[in-house]
Symmetry: C2
Subunit: 252 residues, 2 copies
Amino acid sequence: QIYSQVVANMAQIQAVKTTVSHVISQTLPLAGKVVTITAGPTREALDPVRYISNHSSGKMGFALAEAALSAGATVHLIAGPVQLQAPEGVTHYGVQSAEQMLEQSLALVAQTDIFIAAAAVADYRMAEVAEQKMKKAQGETDLVLRLVQNPDIVATIARHPERPFTVGFAAETQAVEAYAADKLQRKNLDMIIANDVSRTDIGFNSDQNAVTVLWRSHNGVQRHQPEQASKQALASQLINCIVEQFEANKAI
Amino acid sequence: QIYSQVVANMAQIQAVKTTVSHVISQTLPLAGKVVTITAGPTREALDPVRYISNHSSGKMGFALAEAALSAGATVHLIAGPVQLQAPEGVTHYGVQSAEQMLEQSLALVAQTDIFIAAAAVADYRMAEVAEQKMKKAQGETDLVLRLVQNPDIVATIARHPERPFTVGFAAETQAVEAYAADKLQRKNLDMIIANDVSRTDIGFNSDQNAVTVLWRSHNGVQRHQPEQASKQALASQLINCIVEQFEANKAI
């Protein structure tokens, strides 16, 4: 009799717990929303063994995925080759090239409320990928690689008929805010996060980051500069900032 | 009195141990020899954020370092960017570009008895590295990269006045043995280890490897094909093979 009493109490406690966590998750700012994030570099094959890539570690995108998850969102993380584990509860899609990343982004666009393009996508890929390993020709000392532009993933999403709230990144080494403001307008983004990758203390591969956030409003481009912080702490601030403008846009 | 007896015994045991390990280490096949190994890919900068690289994991070079250490050698490991820890007891030099790898190899050449070039060195680098991040020009959709040949590290070492016993690698996707035999002669190597990287079950990034070893003798090019094995087991076989030819060359 005591045993059945204990079981009944435990069942009650479990029911209360479930209700509480359900209520909490519904009051989280991104409850019921789908956030899709791209992260890391892409790799563009030159031939079966060589590729072009960049120094993105994926840390910022993965930190944003974690922060969006904590804010109650359903999170899709489309990542190039990185040395990171996706946070538990996040759906991870591993890709190599920009074309693969675009394809996965488009497959998710209709269900996505907020799209954050944190990946450092290669701007160019080989016009033709060599099927065999390219050989040095005897006597020839130079090699000319003909590259073509990759699709612009964030601009493609921002032009899509079912476009979500679209956030871009601008990693620059000079005139950082000017380039970012131009990119915001030209690519029809809702928000852009600009960082100066010429500084070695922050940015690519670093655990710290300092950024400027720009967005469009009735009164022109607005800006906000969070304090330099760890990528984790910064990611929470950025998600707050994104939620605020996402809500403001809906209110219009 | 018992205490001092115990201390005396322990001191004796320690002395015997030291002598035994000294004798063992002197009887190891590479005792007193210096082996320098290059490993991993190199990265050639296009601009401050982009680079050309390749799919080498560095596993084969690191396994060879471990095997050379076990064979009693003093081991220097010059490695490009990889996600591996150097074995304890090995001196590790981290480099990025082919030029940095060559510089470190030359700094060690005079003291090196056996040089094993296991790195997948980028054949080409940018003719001029852009100081700022390259921007897409409005309206331009193509990009032409002008590359120049990198120094050939293994050939430079094999031509050096103080040349060590020099072992190269040939990672090919077709006509594997023919390319390797040509490379052996043309670069003046003592030995070359050929593997077929078009097979996805072995080679780059795989934990398994299957290779063919070619070397020059009075009777022309000799060959030996160890059985497919883990990179660790194969590394021990390769070090045995290298020791055998290193000794044979000295005997001439």
